[in-house]
Symmetry: C2
Subunit: 213 residues, 2 copies
């Protein structure tokens, strides 16, 4: 690729620059307090141009949510694809999730903290991404437990696997706060702690261990 063929940047590139700036500003100020002026200034683009490209403040927010939710689910999926067993795939996926949050704190703040009181279009976008990750986690939990339990062991039903997936995803959401207040913990280490606790617990519960013997 050569530098640029003409002075004006292609539409796609400009749009990405605007979204980059918008993620930063929405993360810092919150949706309602964020101003399109500040986003335009940070992107180095005029305000009318921002409206031309992304239509409205809500359109801009939706573009941020769409792009960042896509990046996050892709990071999880790509990482989970590589490893050789379900347990390792789940671990790789969770690790990619924590690494994403660690590297893109602004994106996570926008996705996790600022979408809940928004319009249905926005919440639908976030729910879609969340359901996609939840379904992958559920599949990996079921396959992983079946594999690690070995022949003859009880299998994990759909309902249990879905329960574990909800517990894992919820724990991971909240552990992003713990990770933020423990900056020396790597995403891999956070993942190892979480997997240890849940996976080992699951395996032992299936083997018959219970809270009150």
């Amino acid at each position: 690729m050569t530098e640029t063929r003409k002075r004006r940047l292609p539409r796609k590139v400009r749009e990405q620059q605007i979204i980059d700036a918008a993620v930063q500003v929405f993360s810092k100020r919150g949706y309602h307090a964020a101003s399109v002026d500040e986003i335009a200034e940070l992107a180095g683009i005029s305000k009318p141009m921002v409206y031309l490209y992304l239509d409205s403040k809500e359109g801009l927010f939706l573009a941020c949510v769409h792009r960042e939710a896509g990046r996050l689910t892709e990071a999880f999926r790509d990482a989970a694809r590589g490893a050789h067993s379900p347990g390792l795939r789940l671990r790789a996926g969770l690790s990619a999730f924590f690494a994403f949050v660690s590297d893109h704190r602004d994106s996570w703040v926008v996705l996790h903290r600022q979408t809940s009181a928004m319009s249905e279009t926005v919440t639908a976008e976030v729910s879609k991404a969340r359901r996609s990750v939840m379904a992958q986690v559920e599949g990996l939990v079921r396959a992983g437990i079946a594999e690690s339990a070995g022949a003859g062991a009880p299998e994990l039903g759909d309902e249990e696997a879905d329960f574990v997936a909800h517990a894992l995803v919820g724990a991971a959401d909240t552990l992003t706060d713990w990770m933020e207040s423990h900056p020396r913990e790597t995403p891999e280490r956070v993942t190892q702690r979480l997997m240890n606790m849940v996976w080992v617990g699951m395996r032992n519960v299936l083997a018959g261990e219970s809270l009150e013997p």
Copy 2:
């Protein structure tokens, strides 16, 4: 107490009626789409009277968050106070949490889904309640693991207990969705599943078990 001493209801009672109605409407419509007209109508009180008592739409929302967050943290604390060991106290607290969400779905929707993009006053109120529950859970986790591990076993450091507390609280948050889609599961059963998984996992991890032997 006799019925009512005069025709007009005392201010406190009216306020509670308005908040009851507001929780329902905010839960159903979301903060921005909710109208004070609908809240006033549902409460059977004139709109000027609503403003007289609760000042503004945001004041009304804040009153809802304040009351419901208080009820939820109290339910947790009161339940956790009764039992005889840290493990049982944690279980009682979690069970009270799931029962609260099950019985007061509207309150939970307002607290959990609709506060994140709101003003700092509102988010501070929610954070305070969350920190209070998190601190209680952390204390119970540490004490419970110390007790169940017995003499000579490794103790759980502050950092680990805080990690487990974050994982548990986050898992519980998200399991409210699972519980909603499994209406035949009681709060007690959901709690037992969660405690089983996390507690048994924790105990075995402390005893030296790990994901990859």
